[in-house]
């Protein structure tokens, strides 16, 4: 029986809604998708090889470019991995600052994810509202570390900058405004029949499939699996924070949307509690083999100068061995696998990027969907190509 004429269409790197330079080779029969093959690699910069040629401290600004929508979380998970390798911990205030900035970054990430998702489905205005709210967060980051996107604000063993004086007031101001803004998004989208019919039972991922394909983060929780690394392995100060983990039931696009909206609210709660419990004290671990010396007393204090040069030329010499640490990045579990041979340069750095793993399920759930669903499913997984191609 002669099948109807099947079209091979490239949702190519040059497409308005592929969240970066991902190419989906889609075999279409009319509006329906028969098969879909993602093709990646356009944004490959060889970060893992670059890490082998850099000192541990030099690689931190490179991690900003991994998932460029949540740079603070990338920095944090890299620094945590190296700290685990060195067997040290940041001081109290350093931990709190890190948690505040990381959770703010999660809200900013989800705002971008939600905005571009609405845009992909035709709701133009939601993008502008989410970006307006994200602007407040970017101002806070710029106030804290001087850059809006590529923050490079954390260091192994703590942070380099302390919170500027106007920061806490501005952050509290932000926390008052944001819940009403999220209610606006909910009013616009959540129960909107068009939004619901577009997303209900689209791209359904059952709990078994999610676990089998190794999905993590909001995509896993939307399928009903309650797995949040901040609760399972509470590093930093997450164990002192009260927050609950939103979990979906059906694992379709609408649940992924619901989980992200609730996660934004929970992150606001965490930032609120962290701001309240912010202890005084220093922000960098005071171990001579890690922390850079204070620059003021350099001209006369010669051994400090020697230590400064030693640290920056040799770098820290972690004990031989390997370590893996997964951190709850807004997109899933961002893991760093570090092998050190005792020198200042890591022997091998493997980055387990969540979007790369989450993307493996695309062919399975795109089959039988329609073209408009492909866009919706793609946006619901919120992939970022910087992370996929590394």
């Amino acid at each position: 029986m002669q099948t109807t004429h099947e079209m091979v269409v490239n949702l190519g790197p040059q497409h308005p809604s592929t969240h970066g330079v991902m190419k989906l080779e889609v075999v279409m029969d009319g509006e329906y998708i028969v098969d879909c093959k993602p093709v990646i690699g356009q944004l490959h910069r060889g970060m893992e090889k670059m890490a082998e040629g850099m000192l541990y401290g030099q690689f931190i600004p490179i991690t900003d470019r991994l998932d460029y929508l949540s740079p603070a979380c990338n920095n944090l998970s890299y620094c945590l991995a190296v700290e685990k390798l060195l067997g040290i911990e940041a001081p109290e205030r350093g931990k709190y600052i890190r948690v505040i900035i990381a959770e703010m970054q999660r809200i900013a990430n989800h705002l971008v994810a939600l905005g571009s998702w609405g845009l992909d489905l035709g709701a133009w205005t939601i993008l502008l509202y989410t970006f307006r709210d994200r602007e407040m967060l970017l101002d806070l980051f710029e106030m804290f570390c001087g850059q809006r996107m590529t923050l490079n604000c954390f260091r192994v063993g703590g942070t380099t900058y302390d919170l500027p004086d106007g920061f806490v007031e501005k952050a509290r101001e932000f926390l008052e405004v944001i819940p009403s803004r999220i209610n606006d998004y909910e009013a616009l989208l959540t129960k909107n029949p068009i939004w619901m019919t577009r997303l209900r039972d689209v791209g359904v991922v059952s709990a078994e499939d999610a676990l089998a394909y190794g999905l993590t983060g909001p995509n896993l929780r939307a399928s009903g699996v309650k797995w949040d690394l901040r609760k399972v392995y509470p590093y930093e100060v997450y164990d002192r924070m009260q927050f609950d983990v939103p979990v979906g039931s059906r694992g379709d696009c609408l649940d992924r949307y619901y989980v992200r909206i609730q996660e934004m609210r929970q992150s606001c709660r965490i930032v609120q509690q962290a701001l309240d419990q912010l202890p005084p004290g220093d922000i960098m671990v005071d171990m001579p083999t890690i922390a850079l010396p204070n620059k003021e007393e350099f001209p006369n204090n010669f051994p400090e100068v020697v230590r400064h040069f030693h640290l920056l030329v040799q770098g820290y010499a972690p004990p031989e061995g390997e370590v893996y640490l997964g951190y709850e990045n807004p997109k899933g579990e961002l893991g760093f696998y570090l092998v050190s041979d005792g020198s200042g340069y890591p022997y091998r750095l493997k980055i387990r990027s969540p979007s790369f793993i989450n993307m493996q399920i695309f062919p399975k759930i795109m089959r039988g969907a329609m073209l408009a669903d492909v866009i919706a499913i793609l946006a619901s997984f919120d992939p970022v190509l910087g992370e996929i191609d590394r």
């Binding site: 850099m54 205005t125 001087g146 616009l188 019919t197 209900r200 350099f298 920056l312």
Partner: protein, 143 residues
């Protein structure tokens, strides 16, 4: 299709959505018109890197530590055994403004300026050598 009768009640949600957009219609706008109005950058902003020739101790730590090797430096030893800088250049196109160089400079010769409008018509203009490394960058068209 999912729009059963239960969803008919959702028409109220449609109206609520319209209400939200109407409310935003009368809200003051938040955008600024870039070339005419400008946004003041914050005090810690990491813009174009400035280099102070007197303070610099020619230790080449910054050139060595810069992850993208944007800084090139040539030193020769001066009269009384102190090293001096013969040539110092930062390629603003390569630099990713990560702030590591100003952080590790032992004598604090490198600092960040609030300038971020560094577009230039010729590639050579993005390379800031000796004298151009201090003070404001050349006036761009939209100044």
């Amino acid at each position: 299709m999912a729009l059963g009768l239960r969803d008919v009640a959702l028409v109220v949600e449609l109206l609520r959505g319209l209400g939200v957009t109407l409310r935003h219609l009368f809200k003051p706008t938040v955008t600024i018109h870039y070339p005419t109005e400008r946004r003041e950058v914050y005090e810690r902003y990491r813009g174009l890197v400035r280099w102070d020739k007197e303070k610099c101790a020619a230790c080449a730590l910054c050139a060595r530590f810069c992850p993208v090797k944007a800084i090139t430096i040539q030193t020769d030893d001066g009269e009384d055994g102190k090293k001096t800088v013969k040539y110092y250049q930062i390629d603003a196109a390569h630099c990713m403004y990560c702030g590591l160089c100003s952080e590790i400079c032992p004598v604090g010769a490198l600092s960040h300026s609030p300038y971020h409008e560094l577009a230039a018509y010729r590639r050579e203009d993005t390379i800031y050598a000796q004298e151009r490394l201090s003070g404001a960058p050349p006036i761009t068209m939209y100044r």
